[in-house]
């Protein structure tokens, strides 16, 4: 099976992120072509024809999202790149920010042109230091070279890009909370309707796209939608950047063509489970996706259609590999501690539910679990499924029910025996 690359197409070095080297690779030629030869509608049509799905976790087609924005409605529109990358297990947008920041900038200027956006933003999580500095340097270089600012490349197209740094909140990865954060207010997610593409930043039409999704724009416009569609699958064209971590020999960011065999990816490309251990389970796409067992992933391909049919999702591409011997009860405890910490507190099911889930799992791990705790964990998860303001409630529910579905026996053992059946620590070290 081929494995075409669309993004990781150059060797990374200490200088490969600079404007000089980006231009040597053909950078900003596409922007030139767009501004001189294409209309905004033609650009959007190419994006829609490509069928590219969002790579932030929700997999919403980018062309369809853009299509909601009414051009020529006489009000400001905004474009925002979501570089919050808070989903645990995910670190692939970081690769783009550190190594291909100009790819993002050029893509954003093209997108801004298509959407008639004068002011674009990159919302980057506050904890990112090197990714921020690389991106900031790239933006400065782009301004100096005339790829950003007034009258880009001598045309009458202008676009300003502001990098907005967050300050520590997972919920800011949710698009409406992200925009509220940019408004300088406490980042509570918003109910829909209205959609952000109708009322977003300061109640103006705003498109929020993931960094990786945006970074594909240069390639799609340069080579055409059909070339993009030739890679990947019919329903999910292109490639995905997968961040793989956990008990894996060669963790890191890999670009795979959608449809690549999962087992091959784990056992060959990534060197297999570390320490020569057996594979127990894999969290496919960030902890908010349901865990799958080794047996389940065996026949699957890295294609969201297949993963969804198997009851999970490729989500944000944050893959976490779990070796045999890992206590899934303790693992769930780490996840629930995270969700509890990150709940914004706005809506009842998540605010109260996350705390409740966390207290239950803490009690189980402390050896004070009760038989009804398993049903209660399921119940709280169900109460958060599809009924909260944002997807975080659902996410915690998926993490919980996913682990319970596949490893219920470990929970029953822990409750009955007041200790884990497996290693006492998540590293699965032989000691303790």
């Amino acid at each position: 099976m081929s494995n075409s690359k669309l993004l990781m197409t150059f060797p990374v070095s200490a200088t490969s992120h600079t404007l000089v080297e980006y231009r040597e690779r053909g950078g900003y030629a596409t922007l030139e072509k767009v501004l001189r030869q294409m209309t905004p509608t033609q650009v959007s049509a190419e994006i829609t024809a490509s069928g590219i799905q969002g790579r932030g976790g929700a997999a919403f087609p980018m062309g369809r999202k853009w299509g909601v924005v009414h051009l020529n409605d006489g009000q400001p529109h905004y474009l925002c790149a979501n570089a919050d990358e808070g989903e645990p297990g995910t670190f692939k947008d970081r690769w783009i920010l550190e190594n291909a920041p100009h790819l993002l900038v050029e893509s954003m200027v093209i997108a801004a042109y298509a959407l008639q956006v004068r002011n674009a933003f990159v919302y980057i999580r506050g904890e990112f230091d090197l990714p921020y500095r690389r991106l900031a340097a790239a933006v400065d270089e782009a301004y100096q070279a005339g790829y950003l600012g007034a009258r880009i490349l001598g045309t009458d197209v202008s676009c300003d890009l502001v990098i907005y740094r967050g300050a520590g909140s997972y919920v800011c990865g949710e698009a409406s909370a992200l925009l509220t954060s940019i408004e300088g207010r406490k980042p509570y997610p918003r109910n829909r309707p209205p959609r952000l593409t109708v009322r977003g930043l300061y109640q103006r039409p705003t498109v929020v796209n993931n960094v990786e999704t945006l970074a594909n724009i240069v390639g799609i416009v340069a080579n055409g939608a059909q070339a993009f569609r030739a890679v990947g699958t019919a329903k999910n064209p292109g490639t995905r950047l997968i961040s793989i971590s956990g008990h894996i020999s060669r963790p890191g960011v890999y670009e795979i063509e959608v449809g690549y065999p999962w087992s091959k990816f784990i056992h060959e490309d990534c060197g297999g489970v570390s320490g020569g251990r057996q594979l127990k389970a894999v969290i496919p796409g960030g902890i908010s996706t349901k865990v799958l067992t080794a047996a389940e992933i065996e026949p699957l391909h890295l294609d969201n259609q297949e993963v969804e049919a198997a009851g999970s999702s490729l989500g944000s591409g944050g893959m976490i590999v779990i070796a045999e011997g890992t206590c899934m009860v303790r693992l769930l405890q780490v996840m629930l501690r995270f969700y509890h910490h990150e709940s914004c507190g706005q809506c009842t099911p998540c605010r109260e539910g996350m705390g409740w889930l966390h207290r239950i799992i803490d009690r189980v791990v402390a050896g004070d679990g009760r038989p009804e705790d398993i049903e209660r964990l399921y119940q709280i998860s169900a109460w958060n499924d599809g009924t909260t303001i944002c997807g975080m409630g659902d996410a915690a529910g998926y993490a919980t029910s996913g682990v319970l579905n596949k490893f219920r026996d470990e929970f029953e053992y822990f409750i009955d025996n007041k200790r884990s059946r497996l290693h006492g620590n998540l590293e699965c070290l032989a000691s303790s």
Binding site: P76, E85, G86, E87, P88, G89, T90, F91, D93, R94, R118, N119, R125, G126, E127, F128, D129, L130, D160, V162, Y164, R165, G166, A167, G168, S169, Y170, E183, G184, R185, K186, P187, Y202, S243, I244, S245, G246, H247, P251, G252, V253, I283, I287, G318, I320, I322, T326, R330, L331, V334, M335, R337, F338, H341, E342, C344, N425, L426, E427, L429
Partner: protein, 154 residues
């Protein structure tokens, strides 16, 4: 905050007009970089400069994990405890730091040198376990590497 006003004016100029409220977060970050934390007087000065309700700033300061209203140690040692880092030994790292620094997460050493915190995912899972000290992310940490690093932080 007064000495930062020229800088603030420059940052404000980069935003579209009508975005004054947006300046709350970047200005608080800058104030904290400068002072080490955000003081009550900084909040007053920011309210005057931006003309936003004081409660908005108070909410923002209390909500985000990176903002603080009290000083901490010179070196903020932040150990990730999320899933991948836990799978690669984060608990062991936190225990080591607790013993080495003789403080628990949330506390500061008596000499004001180190504050220890546990934090959530820093998007560096491939190089777990990860410890962030001030702005810098230290990857693939081991107790030995940490000990050597802490020595250099005066």
């Amino acid at each position: 905050m007064k000495h930062l006003v020229a800088e603030f004016d420059a940052i404000r100029a980069r935003f579209p007009s009508g975005f004054d409220s947006s300046l709350v977060v970047p200005f608080l970050r800058r104030i904290q970089e400068d002072r080490g934390y955000v003081a009550d007087s900084d909040i007053d000065a920011l309210v005057d400069y931006l003309r936003v309700p004081r409660i908005q700033i108070e909410e923002v300061l209390s909500y985000y994990t990176q903002f603080r209203r009290k000083p901490i140690g010179r070196w903020h040692v932040q150990a990730c405890r999320n899933v991948s880092c836990s799978l690669l030994g984060a608990d062991r790292i936190v225990d080591h730091l607790t013993q080495k620094l003789r403080i628990r997460p949330g506390e500061t050493t008596g000499d004001g040198r180190f504050t220890l915190s546990t934090v959530e995912c820093l998007a560096s899972c491939g190089t777990a376990p990860v410890v962030m000290i001030n702005e810098t992310c230290h990857e693939c940490v081991t107790p030995q590497k940490l000990d050597a690093l802490l020595e250099t932080l005066t």
